[in-house]
Symmetry: C2
């Protein structure tokens, strides 16, 4: 990711910088807002001097606009400019309508990043503001893709009525995640691992394959100094091997029973919730019906490859450690995925980079070339 | 890599910043100085205000110190501080002794990054300067590893009497360089490819395996807007298949005959220079005898894996494109390299990152963990 914007009150910001800051703010709510979208808001005075910023902290709590404007006096809001990543809401849900609140203020203008796809809003939020004579425009600049990224889960949920799928890979420089003999251990840095725990919290559920449980015995909970969250855990266990095993697995001790779901392909007798699925698409549809709006795929090779092959991954988060394991006796995360010709390669779009020294981190939206 | 330092005359620089700038300067000579080391020099006034910088541009041309101090007046050099990445030379070769030249100046102090391993210098350069009463110290801070990196070829050549081996990999996000069916094409960005051409010029010779020639028919020359250089090209062709082929290969048209060397393992009749070798270590020793001080390995999978297995790679340059090819039908650059247990993984040290959007670039020194 590129450099952070961190203005002091009174600093001049261009429209682009204000929207960029609003995007930065939006991400602060990532672990806590589901099923709401991430939203950030920045308020400048009439001369584009920075006044305040805010974001939607948590589901059920005030929206980003409220978080930003309650920091300001009536005097400061006079002729102010509001930048918000998503169209202010027209409807009243757990909180009052932001559009109606903004419409009552003596603002110069409101710029919103994306139209809200929620049919309860979709243009109506902007309309409410415009009717009072305040200029209210949809942003149309270089940050449009970044704006889509901020609320991609929400957009997919609303546009396609489907669960959003993110996948995380922690690999060696040569694309390996383990040795073929099953030996596997953290190869990425502490900074990478802390961010993985944050990412787990960004999504409603973690998905993991049976073999990863058997070989790594992972906890798969959110262990982050600043985030407390209990995520759902979906274990893909087609033959019910884990369920029928006498072994004690860490994740069963750590996660509350009602947060663990086994995805199986044969009848299994168990106290745990099970979903009988035909393929991954079917599994995702069943998760959607359970109101699981987003999942975070954490391996292993068969699970990653299955999602890749089915074309179901929306976003990929890849952490690469500067070590070489060798494909000879290694296990690649894309081991069971293949394409017939290079023109069919999968391409990540709107790619962002970051360093968790000495690791590289890359994320992007996934689509066929 | 982190941010560049670009001071104006009169800007204050700390000792660390001055040395960092000297390192930056050193790299500017990378395509042209062999067999000399890369050297950079920065001169500050007595109050640590920036005066000038310079570097060793090209073999046979003035050294970095000269490049920096000839930009200054005698008045400016009064009480000046000289930061140079390598000990000033004591001996006179193609150019006069820098140590002797500095010793005649009214300097406050000289800080050099590394002691020159050349026995003709090794401490004697510093001694010459000290004898005149000028303080002359070896740098001992956080940039020590970066200083070693700047002249790693020269250091290996002098310390071990061996050819330095760098390797470049251009891979997909999942570690693939081609499809197993042989299909292969540039997957990295234009920015990455331009830097690859610069890197070719950093080293004396490119090494490539037979199969890469057959499948890709590459040119393997230096095509860079600012660099003109004819490198050696070593083709590893154990059975003489390329040599005996009737096919026309691009590299044979593009490279001068005397710059192409075939490494073979059986007798072959040809006008080209051949080296009969037993293993890669033996080949490198023969290249050392030909005064080839550094090589740049450019694939393919068997060649990379051979060098990895033999533990012969000193530096790795990896360009990763945000695309997924799949290990299923893909060819990994480490396809024929394996380790018995993760504790034997290869680890890159003093890793640096850069982005050639949308690609990631990573480089580091290679060693066993």
């Amino acid at each position: 990711m590129d450099e952070k914007i961190a203005p002091h009150k009174g600093d001049f910001l261009s429209d682009e910088q204000a929207m960029k800051l609003a995007i930065q703010e939006a991400y602060k709510g990532a672990p806590f807002v589901s099923p709401n979208p991430l939203v950030g808001c920045v308020i400048l005075d009439e001369n584009s001097k920075f006044l305040s910023s805010g974001y939607h902290h948590k589901f059920g709590e005030p929206h980003a606009e409220v978080d930003a404007y309650t920091k300001l006096s009536d005097q400061e809001l006079h002729n102010a400019q509001v930048f918000v990543t998503l169209e202010p809401c027209a409807h009243e849900g757990k909180t009052p309508s932001c559009a109606k609140a903004l419409a009552k203020m003596p603002l110069k203008r409101v710029i919103f990043g994306l139209e809200d796809p929620n049919p309860l809003v979709a243009g109506q939020g902007a309309q409410i503001i415009r009717e009072t004579g305040i200029s209210c425009l949809e942003y149309d600049g270089e940050l449009k893709s970044d704006l889509e990224d901020t609320c991609e889960v929400f957009l997919k949920n609303f546009r396609e009525k489907k669960t959003f799928v993110a996948a995380k890979v922690a690999q060696s420089l040569d694309g390996q995640i383990a040795l073929a003999n099953g030996e596997s251990k953290w190869i990425t840095s502490e900074g990478s691992r802390e961010f993985v725990h944050e990412l787990r919290a960004w999504y409603d559920a973690v998905i993991v394959g049976r073999k990863t449980i058997e070989t790594d015995n992972p906890s798969l909970n959110v262990r982050h100094p600043e985030i407390q969250k209990e995520n759902y855990l979906i274990v893909i266990d087609p033959q019910g091997k884990i369920l029928n095993s006498k072994k004690s697995y860490k994740f069963l001790e750590i996660h509350k029973k009602e947060k663990v779901i086994f995805a199986v392909q044969k009848d299994v007798t168990t106290d745990y919730k099970t979903l009988k699925f035909t393929d991954l698409d079917d599994l995702l549809n069943q998760l959607w019906n359970l109101k699981i709006k987003s999942v975070f795929v954490e391996g292993g090779a068969r699970t990653y490859s299955g999602f890749l092959t089915a074309g179901l991954i929306d976003r990929l988060h890849v952490f690469t450690a500067p070590v070489i394991i060798g494909s000879g006796d290694g296990l690649s995360w894309s081991e069971y995925f293949s394409i017939p010709a290079l023109e069919h390669k999968l391409v990540l779009k709107n790619v962002k980079h970051k360093t968790f020294s000495p690791d590289q981190y890359l994320t992007g939206r996934l689509m066929r070339d």
